[in-house]
Symmetry: C2
Subunit: 259 residues, 2 copies
Amino acid sequence: MSPAGAPLTHPTREMPANSNALIRRLQSLSRLTPTERSALWELLHAWEWVPAGAVIEREGDCSGAIHALLAGLACRHKDFRDGRRQIIAILFPGDLSRNLGGAARPTDHHVRALTRAKVVRIALHHLEAVIEANPGIERALHTATIVEGAVLRAWIVNLGQRQAHERLAHLFCEIAHRMANCDLSRPDGSFELPLTQKELGAALGLTSVHVNRVLQKLRAEALVEFDNGVLRIREMERLRGIANFDPAYLSNWGHGQAP
Amino acid sequence: MSPAGAPLTHPTREMPANSNALIRRLQSLSRLTPTERSALWELLHAWEWVPAGAVIEREGDCSGAIHALLAGLACRHKDFRDGRRQIIAILFPGDLSRNLGGAARPTDHHVRALTRAKVVRIALHHLEAVIEANPGIERALHTATIVEGAVLRAWIVNLGQRQAHERLAHLFCEIAHRMANCDLSRPDGSFELPLTQKELGAALGLTSVHVNRVLQKLRAEALVEFDNGVLRIREMERLRGIANFDPAYLSNWGHGQAP
DNA sequence: CGGTTGATTGAGGCTGCTCAAAAGGTGTGG
DNA sequence: CCACACCTTTTGAGCAGCCTCAATCAACCG
């Protein structure tokens, strides 16, 4: 809890680095020096809460800023004119709205808060200046981009090859692992997941009606409980078997430190 | 053909940089100095041809090397034990088997030649040394990663929301644009695309039987011709309309130079 | 010529969609 | 406190997109 303030020059007593989701994330991807941690900390103090449903970044935006999610859940999604919506990715605390290096391009999708969310806007020139002085941060950000790419590929496989119940099972497995990585799981393994069935459908390429029926089947087989925005996976092993889920893609073996 | 052992002081007459697909690609993503171009050239002289179907990189591989595709087509794909296969991405000349920074992790999918392909293996430590001396190369590689991410997101939308005929139309549009970017289109806009209907199905999450029927419909409406491994889009505008295709995600506006 | 691979066609069936309506929950205003 | 609107979940009936299985045809190759 307390900052573990090992002074280099003298990293402030005010920097509870471990309480910041982005710093925690980057630290798990690549080692950060105390200087780098405090440089990050400087970027992140002007956060604010936004309500569920708020648009964090609009499609077409090229305002020269990126946003970091510090608490809550968000998603990337693309809307069609006829009402179809695809959720492309789910963002957890510590995720960024854009990848470094692509920040100058207009975004091709919306980023939206799925829950009340703690968000900080980071001006691009500001971030670049910090990176300039702290190459370790750049390395960590690029590693984050790599892991995100692996998740996108897993989603493609999920949408392309699996049937509805396998698809939902896989999504639940992924979310459970990422929740645990963010320390958002309760002791019994359950966690808050305030997604509607419509939103699950938008992530899975299914209608909310069908999600409902599939969910009932998973419930009936005592695999999961999902009520009141809380998901509890009762039999992870069987669920993993159904989904053919392998969590390797979510971690960063090989580079930096392992979780 | 000949390795062009150029001293980096004088940018040799032997370096037809524009004849190398990777150099051309990176150049289009970010400006490269002559020194950087020749440093890249050094990395790429030991290429070889591999036959169609050859595995370029195996799932689970962590050999400390990445592969660059210099000619031909390749794909990333994931296989299930029961025979299902999803093609996750199509690689064009100038694409890499892995993203820089993730090269030390074991790959989570196969990379396979779709046609006879010109491939060069690049040892990781070698690449890192070159990047160390030429930061412009690193920037270009990261931009390539960003663009690749945009393509993955477009595939997720395609698989999740579009019906078979829209899906196929979208894939054809994407391929046509990327072919043109690689100067692989003929004057009449047609190009070689030696994919089987089974492979198209594996990319689109459809069976080859259904791909066949959808293809017939597109043909019947005079939208495309697809015979003998050659695709010709006869009415790009209408095809784009069906697919709801917007090519913006394939380019790199904002950073470096525009195509 | 037989063997193999890919394209094509047909019949039938299942998964997941559409349309519709009812039930449960929540917040708002009278 | 109730009435009302609104959203989400749930359920049902019918349909359609896509799959499965199977067979035929065409091209290529040793």
